[in-house]
């Protein structure tokens, strides 16, 4: 977290010395700071801070891919006659533990087109997910696990 703060301070410094606090200037400052912080590391390879950013980028990538494909399918579904999808509701045992993790997981799941969290069990371990374009239960759970849950938890932990 402190690294992020440093990054922000660097961005502000960048803007302040140029006497230009506009959004573009600050953004450039932030990216430069990020690059700096990514390389200032005692260990070899990318710093933990940079790794975090990479994880986030990866998550985003997966996410965007998912958004595009399923939205496309959704669009086709709505725009063409007849409904071809066969929805189902699956219980999904999550590995997320903390409140924040569960919440964020759910947010991500919901933002993923085609799947929608409908309920969480009382102990918070099982998510019930409505899925629009499923083939099998196994395929769905695998997809959730690998393309949504793991990348998210990697970012968070």
């Amino acid at each position: 977290m402190s690294a992020l703060l440093w990054n922000l301070v660097l961005a502000l410094l960048w803007g302040a010395v140029q006497d230009d606090m506009s959004l573009g200037t600050l953004a450039i400052g932030f990216v430069l700071g990020l690059v700096l912080l990514a390389f200032i590391s005692p260990q070899p390879g990318p710093s933990p801070y940079a790794r975090k950013w990479l994880d986030i980028l990866k998550l985003l990538g997966l996410f965007v891919r998912e958004v595009i494909t399923t939205n496309w399918r959704l669009a086709l579904e709505i725009a063409t006659p007849g409904i071809k999808s066969r929805p189902a509701i699956y219980a999904f045992e999550t590995e997320a533990r903390t409140e924040l993790e569960v919440t964020l997981l759910l947010l991500i799941i919901n933002f993923t087109p085609g799947s929608l969290g409908l309920e969480i069990s009382e102990d918070g371990k099982v998510l019930y997910i409505h899925n629009m374009f499923t083939t099998t239960r196994e395929a769905f759970i695998r997809n959730m696990r690998e393309n949504v849950e793991r990348p998210l938890l990697r970012v968070l932990r």
Binding site: N71, I78, I83, R86, I89, P113, Y128
Partner: protein, 123 residues
Amino acid sequence: MREVITAVFLGVGALAMLLAGLGMVRLPDLFLRLQATAKAATLGVGGLLCAAAVNTGSLGGVAHALLTVLFLFAITPVATLLIARAAFHAGVPLWKKTGENDLAEKYRAEARPPSADSLIDGQ
């Protein structure tokens, strides 16, 4: 240039919104329609707001647009959970072609709250 980027965002947003509207009419059950709004609308509003953010270019504009998207992102799932749960309790039927339903198992054990009857609202 800025107008072109804006136009792209606008196009995506408008299309998503239109789809959401169509979906509301066309999709056969509540949960599918929930899907449509939760995604298409978020995408649509996101697109339109991003267009506005790009178009104005001011910090305030961007902040407003981002804040709005962020908030919607955070709050919509919560609403979805509450509505879905209420719908189940009320016995809102699923589309007949829906496949497996794990939630039905869960709810079978629970008693349906009596007050929920009033929710079924045949006009």
